[in-house]
């Protein structure tokens, strides 16, 4: 009996991942354009900006970083900003708003977890491609493969934290009818505080407590530091522990918020 149950638990999760992968590949051109625009256009703009700052202002150090260090950071951060990405939490608020959550509640799988695995399936190609690019780059740039793998693990943990946090916030949709705005605010804060726009070390010291007190730095800044060899495996382990701590905290919050909020649900929208 237990074996059947375990098999079922594995099967539905794998099916959800497969479903997400199929959906991502249904429109192949869009998938490719999406990947290249999301990965390379913002980075291209950042690189242009760094180039301008150094060439047109005549400075040699910006926020304690040399030009080459900023370039290395920006290129490396692409790998992890793609892994951290994923707006599956928006699917949850849409389900609550439209009432389509009702169908999910009738199924023997949790809607929050189902949306995660399905979204993860969509992202898995991007993550695999990023890892491949990273391995290729580590060969030419003389970077440690171990560091890259450790960094990717941290980024995947960041992806999980990102979803748990988003799903917790999505519970607001049970009260507000539509919580699109709150997730939008979360994404804006994340884009600045995760380190995908610029290295967090260039923040003035008096503001560094802001990013240090959120888990967002584990999404991009942390993994990039690990991949570049600026964080030792010991520091990586320390931040992985912090990440797990955030995961547990958000998982508990998620449980509490959803179990309480779902009582508001009327099946015709939140």
């Amino acid at each position: 009996m237990n074996m059947i149950r375990i098999k079922w638990m594995m099967e539905w999760r794998l099916a959800a991942v497969r479903n997400g992968m199929k959906d991502a590949l249904a429109y192949r051109w869009d998938f490719l354009i999406d990947f290249f625009t999301q990965a390379f256009v913002p980075v291209g703009i950042q690189l242009i900006l760094w180039h301008s700052i150094f060439t047109q202002s005549g400075t040699t150090v910006f926020g304690g970083m040399k030009y080459t260090e900023l370039l290395a950071y920006t290129w490396t951060s692409i790998l992890f900003s793609q892994v951290r990405g994923g707006n599956y939490d928006f699917a949850l608020i849409e389900m609550i708003r439209t009432g389509s959550l009702s169908q999910s509640l009738l199924r023997p799988v949790g809607p929050v977890e189902f949306v995660f695995w399905r979204g993860f399936g969509e992202k898995i190609f991007t993550a695999a491609f990023c890892l491949f690019l990273g391995l290729l780059a580590s060969y030419f740039a003389d970077r440690s493969v171990l560091n890259l793998l450790l960094a990717m693990m941290l980024a995947v943990l960041g992806n999980v934290i990102h979803y748990l946090f988003g799903a917790t916030l999505a519970a607001v949709a049970f009260y507000w009818e539509n919580a699109f705005a709150i997730l939008l605010v979360k994404n804006m804060m994340v884009s600045l505080l995760s380190g995908e726009v610029m290295p967090l070390s260039v923040f003035p010291a008096k503001y560094s407590w802001i990013w240090e007190s959120t888990p967002f730095y584990l999404y991009v800044y942390g993994p990039t530091q690990v991949a570049l060899g600026k964080w030792s495996p010991e520091v990586w382990a320390h931040h992985m522990m912090i990440g797990f701590g955030w995961c547990i905290a958000f998982a508990i919050l998620l449980k509490i918020t959803w179990s309480r909020s779902i009582r508001q649900y009327q099946g015709i929208g939140g």
Partner: protein
Amino acid sequence: MIAIYWDVFKTIFKNNFVKEFIYRTNAFAMTFADLIWVVVELAFFEVIYSNIANINGWGREQCFFFLGIFVSSDALFTTFFQRSFWEFPMLINRGDLDVLLTKPVSPVFLATMKSINFTQVLNLILGFWIIAHYGPAAGFDGGLAWLAVFFWIIIGLATQYLMRFVSVVWAFWLERGITVSALYYQLYALANKPSGLYPASIRFVIKTALPFAFMGSLPVLSVTGKLPLQDYLLVAVVLVVYTFLARTLWKRGLKRYQSASS
């Protein structure tokens, strides 16, 4: 003719107002979210200028002044057009454009103005506040120069409308035109930084092929008296070319349109 369009606009306005405030809390939260976007942009420049005093003649105050004009122009565009442009590819993919083609007013007018977003009002106010607050330090005299600011905000609005139109009209040819919209918004990051922060080649691109500079950079240079005369001519030429391109693509797209799932 104008009266018909005015009546249609009033109806759209009323319908959208009701639709927006069905979800009142979300509407207020969206207003807050849009404000956060401006705060994030301000924070970005604050971090940059906490490390450096000046980039190619653009100091902290000039950058914030630029942001004020850009935010105002963007707030107007977002209010009247942004949602409609997001939905535009769906009109084509699902065949909903059929309905608009049968109406006695321009289908482009209906397709690009059917959804109004009321959550950007505070951004518009904030944009003007930023202009007023940082303008004097950036070389903006105020007074009659405000007319020039309004003029450039309208130019920025028209530019964004045309660029966005040219980016979404590809939905006639693509399976899911929403991807090109995503590409547009990735490139839009070029608009929210002053042109002086870019090298000469990029400055040329954002004044011609992708005229994002018309939304903030050129207006700042113009109202502070630093815009060369030939750039005024360039603005006119680029807008005319974009209008021609938009009209041509729309007409060709319509010929290709096969109703649902075209």
